[in-house]
């Protein structure tokens, strides 16, 4: 039946039968299930990877469909969790691959737990804060990670092998000022595909041990055609708090906070590490306060002052119709104090 399923990949000399076997046994953690995450996850699933962890707390929106390839109109209509919608499609594509989903916010301790047995960690998030967290966790675990980012028609990709390459923090010790995000410059689907393709090639090279990825910052404007392969070696910082001789992993310990979601009029609250609220406790609280709610396997959906809100395990909450962090905090505090 599916004997020649991976034939076109096995015929590629640098992979071959032994590479295919390594892909089959590989475990990969993908942080973010948006444009890059869905594309990389689909390719790895088609490629026959062993196990894929998909981390994302967000729901499918109409504006995602233009470039997030696993999702359909029905997923947006029903505001399905991205990781759930992705899992359903990926299992139709290849049921041999074990897809683990985590509708969670990515902080250091959480990622450290999920990715502890992964061979590669993939940054498919849409923000720098998460890249710093991945960079720290990857160095703590000694696992290579694959950075990717895009905006408009610009694509950036870089792989960091701990102990070998300048790390993300070496390149961006601090990041201040205006950052170009998909909000301001849009995001072209072909820029997504190029970024995800470069990420996937590096994942294949890391898993199969052939090819020499790492240490190159690949930059392309797919609209103008300008292209650069920039060596990062000169940026290596011997006293870097992530990859230097006395690492402190500053982003690992950052506690939760409030983030405003990209272009959605929604606020996402993740409580500090010492204050975990279970779904059980959340449900109890809502009942006590007579807040109308519905509980599913992964979250509780409720309504407070006209705002739709979703409460996840460990007390994370998504509040719609709010664009100011402070208002989100107030609403959160009105329930959990």
């Amino acid at each position: 039946m599916s004997t020649d399923r991976y034939d076109k990949q096995v015929r590629f000399g640098a992979i071959g039968k032994s590479g295919q076997k390594k892909i089959r046994e590989a475990e990969i953690t993908i942080v973010g299930c948006g444009a890059l995450g869905t594309t990389v996850a689909e390719t790895l699933t088609r490629a026959g990877a062993g196990r894929i962890h998909l981390i994302d707390f967000d729901e499918v929106e109409w504006s995602n469909l233009q470039r997030q390839q696993l999702f359909t109109e029905e997923d947006a209509e029903k505001s399905r969790l991205k990781v759930e919608a992705a899992q359903v499609r990926l299992e139709h594509i290849n049921k041999e691959v074990d897809i683990k989903i985590w509708p969670h916010y990515t902080d250091g301790p959480f990622l450290h737990k999920v990715a502890s047995s992964s061979d590669v960690i993939v940054d498919a998030s849409d923000n720098f804060d998460t890249a710093y967290v991945i960079n720290d966790v990857a160095h703590m675990l000694g696992v290579p990670w694959v950075y990717g980012s895009l905006s408009g028609s610009t694509s950036i990709q870089m792989t960091v092998v701990p102990g070998h390459n300048a790390c993300f923090r070496c390149l961006y010790e601090t990041l201040t000022g205006a950052k170009e995000t998909c909000e301001t410059a849009g995001a072209l689907a072909p820029a997504v595909q190029i970024t995800a393709a470069r990420q996937t090639v590096d994942i294949f090279q890391l898993i199969t041990g052939s090819g020499a990825c790492g240490g190159i910052f690949k930059l392309e404007d797919i609209w103008s055609g300008e292209h650069q392969k920039i060596r990062t070696h000169g940026m290596k910082n011997a006293t870097c708090p992530t990859c230097g001789s006395s690492p402190a992993y500053p982003s690992f310990h950052e506690t939760g906070g409030v983030s405003v979601l990209c272009g959605r009029g929604a606020v996402h609250i993740h409580p500090p590490a010492h204050r975990k609220i279970s779904l059980q406790e959340g449900e109890e609280m809502m009942r006590r306060m007579s807040i109308p709610y519905k509980r599913t396997g992964l979250f509780i959906q409720g309504e407070l002052n006209g705002h739709r809100m979703l409460l996840f395990e460990q007390g994370r909450m998504l509040i719609h119709g709010v664009s100011e962090p402070e208002e989100g905090k107030r609403l959160y505090a009105s329930i959990f104090g």
């Binding site: 948006g34 610009t154 961006y172 205006a178 950052k179 300008e226 650069q228």
Partner: protein
Amino acid sequence: MIQVLYFASMKEASGLASERIKWQGGTLGEVMEKVTDLHPSISWDGVRVALNEEFCSGTQEVESGDIVAFIPPVSGG
């Protein structure tokens, strides 16, 4: 002459993907001053600079024929 490449928000601020600039010699920092003169609306926040496909600091000497790329931070995924 040196060739200067503008990416992401710098491409929008300059209105150009690349341009050739007359060059008699000097440092990367001086290239940045020159670019600021040409395109005053450019913001340098978080911009990284590559000289001939190698990340470099502002003290690096730039020679005629070199290629300089300016890369603002890009976040989206």
